[in-house]
Symmetry: C2
Subunit: 644 residues, 2 copies
Amino acid sequence: MSPVGIPRNARNSVVHPSENDTSNMFGAKVNRPHETHENNGKIPLGQYIFERLLSCGTKTVFGVPGDFNLTLLEHMYSPKVIAGKLRWIGTCNELNAAYAADGYSRYTNKIGCLITTFGVGELSALNGVAGAFAENVKVLHIVGVSPSSFRTNAARFHHKVHHLIPALSDPNFNPPNHQVYFEMIRDRVSCSSVFLDNIEEACDQIDKVINDIYQSSRPGYIFVPADFPDMLVPTLNLDHRALISLTSAMSSLTVSQEDVSACVGLILQCLYKSETPAVIADVLCDRYDLNGMLNNFVEKYGLWSFSSAMGRSILNESTPYFRGCYNGAESAPNVISNIAKCDFIMHVGAVKNEMNTGHYSLEFKQNACVVEMHPEYIHISKPGSTHKFTGFFMTKVLERLLIELDTSKLQLSYPSCEKNEPEQEEMPQPGQSITQLFLQQQFPKIINPGDVFIVETGSFQFGVRDYVFPPNLKFVSQAFYLSIGMALPCALGVGLGMRDYPYHHISTLQESDLTAFDPKLILCLGDGAAQMTVQELTSFLRYKVPSEIFVWNNGGYTVERAIKGPTRPYNDIMNWNWTKLLYVLGDKDETDTCGTTLDNVSDLAKYFENFRDPHKKVIRLAEVVLSVLDFPEQLKIMAAACQH
Amino acid sequence: MSPVGIPRNARNSVVHPSENDTSNMFGAKVNRPHETHENNGKIPLGQYIFERLLSCGTKTVFGVPGDFNLTLLEHMYSPKVIAGKLRWIGTCNELNAAYAADGYSRYTNKIGCLITTFGVGELSALNGVAGAFAENVKVLHIVGVSPSSFRTNAARFHHKVHHLIPALSDPNFNPPNHQVYFEMIRDRVSCSSVFLDNIEEACDQIDKVINDIYQSSRPGYIFVPADFPDMLVPTLNLDHRALISLTSAMSSLTVSQEDVSACVGLILQCLYKSETPAVIADVLCDRYDLNGMLNNFVEKYGLWSFSSAMGRSILNESTPYFRGCYNGAESAPNVISNIAKCDFIMHVGAVKNEMNTGHYSLEFKQNACVVEMHPEYIHISKPGSTHKFTGFFMTKVLERLLIELDTSKLQLSYPSCEKNEPEQEEMPQPGQSITQLFLQQQFPKIINPGDVFIVETGSFQFGVRDYVFPPNLKFVSQAFYLSIGMALPCALGVGLGMRDYPYHHISTLQESDLTAFDPKLILCLGDGAAQMTVQELTSFLRYKVPSEIFVWNNGGYTVERAIKGPTRPYNDIMNWNWTKLLYVLGDKDETDTCGTTLDNVSDLAKYFENFRDPHKKVIRLAEVVLSVLDFPEQLKIMAAACQH
Ligand SMILES: Cc1ncc(C[n+]2csc(CCOP(=O)(O)OP(=O)(O)O)c2C)c(N)n1
Ligand SMILES: Cc1ncc(C[n+]2csc(CCOP(=O)(O)OP(=O)(O)O)c2C)c(N)n1
């Protein structure tokens, strides 16, 4: 199989990967890395990197080539890497590569990797990596940088290399700092980073960054000088640690069994006293692969459960135990009154920030026992005392709770729960305009179990809070960092993750049950967000990523209009011919895609009705016309509360 | 006049700026900044910022709104700012805003300003600012950040605000660093930056950054907390310094007249001894507004002159004195032999980096006297001695040379110069494919005096080295930082600069002569580069920026193919329907634009023939089909020399 998608581009010379393309055409001396392949148990570093990625479960790599990473990219064509089925996904620009790598990791929970070139590429990608950092996504950013000789000889020769910013003072004289970009990101948007400068240490350093990414579920960086990929390194590490996974990374952390026992004991003690215990599933459950366990826990014991705003779709929302999305004072009224009845709260994988706590308004019943489970510690506060257990044992504790909890000691006595009074369904006249309210009532109906639902930051996102998701739905949304333009390339990454790990998000006991699912990738985004990164749609086409896309055309930045300047031109954008976009981006004969404008309720209803009907299109894009100042109710509440 | 372009978008509610749109629609308490307008000689800081920008000559501001800059943007609608005709140009994303601001400054030599929002916006723009830093462009990046109260109360309340990356260690407990992004850029991609945190000092701090940008011709940053724009500040600074310009900023630097005299004396002494003096015009001439003076100098005394690679179009290339573009060993052969004949070199506004020195291969005649003029010092090396005069007097020295040089003491005795043997013009068969060679021969013919010629990094750029430009041409190219995707949004900024400062680049003595010019903005870019930032074409349409665009469709990254992986898929991209792009990006009835595919020499020749014919289109886009592995000769030489 080809490790890369083959473009449909008729004019391109379509090429199949082979080992015979390493030369520079104009006679420059070029190492032929594969000649040295497995030379005395050694392999080129470039090959090491790709084999290591494959050994971590990363089968797709995103990025853009550039002068300083070509030597690395060449090693994708080493026979072992080809055999491992590594796939290169060239994106239109580097920011999109970062967003896609983020999406790949959000879906697979493996490392999402992007490769860029010195300065121009890496800085372009930075905002995407920062978003992954803010939301605990496992992204590895590999940057091809200037050859190591340029640093040792810096003052003497070749010192001001292209893509590298000059020194601030007297730049004609002072050599630039080849590590300046590394210094910018180190300890800021990455949990672990290394600028390779000693080939002897390179393999260990690379493995460390990867291990760290799994452990702290945040991005890492590896800066690879352009002369390093061809240098030989031992295969030792690959032989000794054939696989780096979340499990292997976490299990390398020492954990005190005594602390675990004490913590479990205390939690059980509180739980046995509780009449109305509740579990809140937060985003780090997902990042540390606890979703299945937590669902089992909730269902086995019949506990009330909530999700956080960032933790949507971790829990099966269609069980009788699910009580909604709790986001402090910004939750639906019934959710607030339900949580207020709980005398025990187990908040698992908690992340606290203004978006995930309703602007710091979480409020529990007086004297409730609150157990906060974080990756590196567990905090318990109960009437009269608080306890902090430090250690990486969130998973261990949950595992033991699942086994040790003694049903006979539970004294559950839940009151009847408050239901959300479903709004009277609007019954619009045929031909009437589509409203956010109508969408909110109709959209949930097209989402099926097993779908992957990706929602961009924007007005529509607010309404999704009150959807009840079907089981086995995977919901993806950048709910805290909120960088618009993220969702579209992110969806590309998700879609490729779905290809590498089919049905990964579906928890069912029987392999054979999977065939009952027809997972659709559904992407919803506003027109303003879409315009930020729109070119990446071409990659859905290039790599044939099946998707259902909805673009909300409401003439600009409606979320911002709700905060300030409702009719200001700075919140306006251009109106595009959305339905012809995929045609322009490469579907010359419109066989693989179709675009439809839906500008009234009847058309929308019909589109929804037929939504699951089989069709031959790889990508469908529906432009849904909304009015400029139509805000979901939930957005109005946020805007009213907005202090800045 | 409207300070913003009004979108053609029929569905948008077209709005005219007024002062009546400051409220938040949902009842949040919102200051009404204009109520406090000119309150005891005080104005809101937001208004101060925009009045200050106008006072610097910046009439257009680029950017994207966001939660943390809306309070600032509102002050664009203060009556004084409206009266000053400040124009807001909303770009599709923030990277494009940075590139556009860079283009605006490259054209106007005023400050190009972009406004973004905390984190998500500012990091997206970073690569554009880094490029401006690397190439000495006057860009001001204003970032709307979290309100100042969020910092003082950080540990207590609201500390993890959206868009802000959390602390690296124990982020649920430790407050984030609200200045983290500021710390990333400070002293790295900016010559001057301030994070406002004391309203009393804000005006001075803002003025200092602007003054610094002019003085060192590099980007600066101002971080404005979201609560600051509505706070009142005195108008004092505006009254005392009604205008900040390059001249005013430079003249505030103290200069020793003695040093100037000594330096001028020494230069003249060497010059009078020289038989074959030469001037090299480098990029900082342009940034410090010396182009006119340098041309006068060369023409007045009839000196041989060269441009550097980054300094193209500073000199009038059609004078009999112009000897070509000198880029060390990578120059055309006749240029190398001409410069080798010169016994005196005055290299003005010199910038030394690998791209501008032919990879550090500048080589002058033995015993030649070399005068290097830098903004902050002048270095003279002559046989037996070297001299360094430190001080900001590049302009002063040139001014005095122009006056004091005594023609009677000049002993010019130039040999005959080598001409570039013009390649035999290829006479292709009609219908034959277009080649880079054919383009190189034909393209110069459509460029007229007074045009603005913007060339993206890519294979075509290499051929441009050997064009001889017509007089009064403005050439714009990111020749050192080489970030692809830059040219298209840059051209938007240039086009708006041309609107704010018509004929700015044309040096003619008579105002009335200007009408003889019909300056066209000509943008040339590769398909790969175009795909990086393509959405910004919509803004050419939205703001009606007349332009002639050529997209080289050669199926991917040809420059990279020359270096490595000529047929590797990582160098492929999708093939788009380029001619329908502008239709999709908003020209619904195709009245303002047209797209044409040129895939053979006859069609290209016809297009060129009619190129200057009057037409009604605002934007024309020609897709020129080239073959995948067609490299200009100059690129082959570079690739052969390429060591990495
Ligand atoms: C990169 C980035 N730039 C700016 C913002 C500020 N911002 C947040 S939402 C928004 C508007 C989104 O508009 P659109 O996608 O059309 O959705 P709508 O709210 O109109 O439904 C903007 C500009 C941001 N979050 N991220
Ligand atoms: C932001 C950025 N990413 C990557 C690169 C590396 N790079 C330099 S030139 C180039 C290819 C340009 O291709 P195209 O615009 O199609 O021009 P061509 O060389 O094919 O004529 C690339 C990817 C870069 N310079 N900047």
